[in-house]
Amino acid sequence: MSQEIKSIDQVEEGLRQEHYIADRSLATSIFLSVKLKKPLFLEGEAGVGKTEVAKVLASMLKRKLIRLQCYEGLDVNTAVYEWNYSRQMLQIRLLEASGNIHQESTVQDIFGPEFLLKRPLLQAIDGTEDPAPVLLVDELDRADEEFEAFLLEILSDFQISIPEIGTIKAEEPPIVLITSNRTREIHDALKRRCLYYWIDYPSFEKEHQIILAKVPEAPQHLAGEVVAFVQELRREDLYKRPGVAETLDWVSALVALDQKTLTEEMIEDTLGALLKYQDDLEHTKGPVTQRILSQRAGVRP
């Protein structure tokens, strides 16, 4: 066995060591999710670090991360398993050539485990990983209801049945994280099986720490200015408010351009790293930028 989780403090410390700066309440949710063996359902705006939680958790617990990216039409063949058809056909040819093709045994032969291609969900429960892996079901809101129903079935008892082989059940269930951007409501039946956590935009201090942890080459002064600007910008009436991921992109851009401090001109040139809608860019350029800059100048000389 590798890392065993014993307390909330330990999770908190572990996240910190992995440079993931989070509220203690998130550590509590993760801790309980592991203890109660229930999936953790993470919701929040795009770019607040939902997916990152799974990566960090896997590396912290020294477990393998298995990721399933969702999209419309995601089906059993890509999510659970698929037969390796070309190998199966070859095998049939081989059997034919050697002249011992008998129907029953052929079927058993070519639908055996060695012709099975394991997809993420099967990999997560088939017990080849010890300890059990961390399973990330990413952006579940992008999948359709059919897949949701299917996932529900797997999450309820961590077993999958393959008609030709039988039922595969996880001896030790994986740690499951599900993320959603809330582009649609996830069905209550699925949520009921999970613990829920809403990741909000970070506070000034948190975001500042995140930048210093993730972009260590950024000058402290610049990092402070950037966070103050972004925090203020999130209060503006925008179609899509910038997430932490965008803040990080922006800081990296400014560092690459050798900036030591924020100027209006530089902001306008690089705002595309932060805002991705034409309306939002228009809204922010000019007076709004000047206002935010001057406000900040007033507060922190």
């Binding site: 309440s25 039409g73 058809y85 070519i110 359709d144 809330r182 613990l195 829920y196």
Partner: protein, 398 residues
């Protein structure tokens, strides 16, 4: 520290309280909560609260309420005091359910009077030819008795929305994709030579429908029947979202889930605060675009806006938000009750601004127009409506 039995009782009480306030708290969750209490140091209040939260709350909308109730409950428990404010919260959440729709009742009352004074009038309109007249009659000109009849006829209408191809594939006798698994299985009987091919085809599904209905003063003669209409389509279609607006937007999808028409309508009317007030279409649409569009327009939705276009809000905003709304939905249909009149011309500022961004502009003033709408929704066709890139007339001046 409290002893175990006491704590257990309090946790169950607390969970029930949340359930009464409308949160989705199941018995399984309560069991989880008890289990979790073993792992978390409940002496440390914040951890305890976070733990309870992650288990019992599953919607972001409930977080604020949860925090308030949590503080009140566990504080009250410590002080052994009473829960005046909790009682208030509870009463408020029940009120929403119980509040009768005043105006609906008034109407019923009026109807009873009519039928009592002249029973023949009520009987008369049930004949066939009367129904035909009724189909053509403008909603605004109906007598209370006719109004009831129209409601009944609405109930009998069927609603279908055109289907679209999804990315999911299912077995088919023919189709675009080879079903390798079935092909291989099937041909093993012939010794493995893939002679007979098996196929998969795209699955079809109904498009979701989103209705945004104007209930401001100028729509007054129509709004109640239109709400009824929205209720009926909602009960026929699984995927539908409904919003109403006057000066601000409100989602009524959940209120419509009631089985009974009158109950649903009284819930809606109880919850709406700006009946028959002013109209700010631009603001309402912006609200929709910012807060809801991403959540309800994801799967090729069809949007119905029901409004007469009398707008007292910001016209630049209206144009901008119409443009955005059209870009983010499959088809944008505007239903206007005034369009039923032959003399009507779309001259109001609001309608003239919105018109370039509308795919279909249709009347909605009598039963016949509803039937026409029904036909349109059934066959919208595979292709997107033709839309032209255009310069905004108002927004660019700034």
């Amino acid at each position: 520290m409290e002893d175990q039995g006491h704590l257990l009782r309090n946790m169950i009480l607390f969970a029930r309280l949340l359930r009464d306030l409308g949160m989705n708290v199941t018995t399984t969750r309560i069991i989880d909560l008890v289990e979790a209490a073993k792992h978390v140091n409940i002496g440390y209040r914040k951890d305890f609260r976070d733990a309870v939260q992650t288990i019992l709350v599953s919607r972001r909308e409930h977080l604020a309420l949860f925090h308030r109730v949590f503080d009140l409950f566990w504080q009250a428990g410590e002080k052994r005091g009473s829960f005046p404010e909790l009682g208030l919260l509870l009463r408020r959440s029940h009120q929403i359910k119980e509040q009768p729709a005043l105006q609906t009742h008034a109407e019923d009352h009026h109807l009873q009077q009519v039928s009592a004074s002249d029973p023949r009038e009520a009987a008369k309109i049930r004949t066939y030819s009367a129904q035909e007249v009724l189909r053509q009659k403008d909603f605004a000109e109906l007598t209370p008795a006719e109004r009831e009849e129209v409601k009944r006829l609405m109930q009998d209408m069927t609603w279908e929305v055109e289907q679209h191809r999804t990315r999911r594939t299912i077995q088919g006798s023919r189709g675009a994709y080879l079903d390798m698994r079935r092909t291989l299985r099937h041909n093993l009987r012939q010794g493995g030579e893939p002679l007979l091919l098996r196929w998969r085809r795209r699955k079809h599904r109904r498009r979701p429908l989103v209705v945004i209905c104007d209930i401001s003063g100028s729509m007054e003669p129509y709004s109640r029947l239109l709400l009824q209409f929205i209720f009926v389509i909602n009960s026929r279609l699984q995927k539908m979202e409904a919003f109403v607006f006057g000066t601000r937007l409100m989602r009524i999808t959940r209120h419509l889930k009631e089985r009974d028409v009158d109950q649903a309508l009284s819930q809606v009317t109880g919850a709406i605060q700006d009946w028959a007030g002013g109209t700010r279409i631009g603001e309402a649409l912006k609200n929709f675009n910012y807060d809801w569009a991403r959540r309800v327009l994801s799967q090729g939705a069809i949007v119905l806006i029901i409004s007469d276009g009398w707008d007292r809000g910001n016209i630049q905003l209206l144009e901008k938000e119409m443009a955005r709304l059209q870009r983010s939905c499959r088809r944008l249909i505007w239903l206007n009750p005034l369009l039923g009149s032959p003399r009507y011309e779309p001259l109001t500022r609001g309608i003239r601004t919105a018109l370039p961004y509308i795919d279909d502009f249709l009347p909605v003033h009598n039963l016949t127009s509803l039937e026409q709408l029904g036909k349109l929704l059934e066959r919208l066709g595979e292709h997107r409506p033709l839309r032209r890139q255009m310069r905004m007339r108002f927004s660019e001046v700034a």
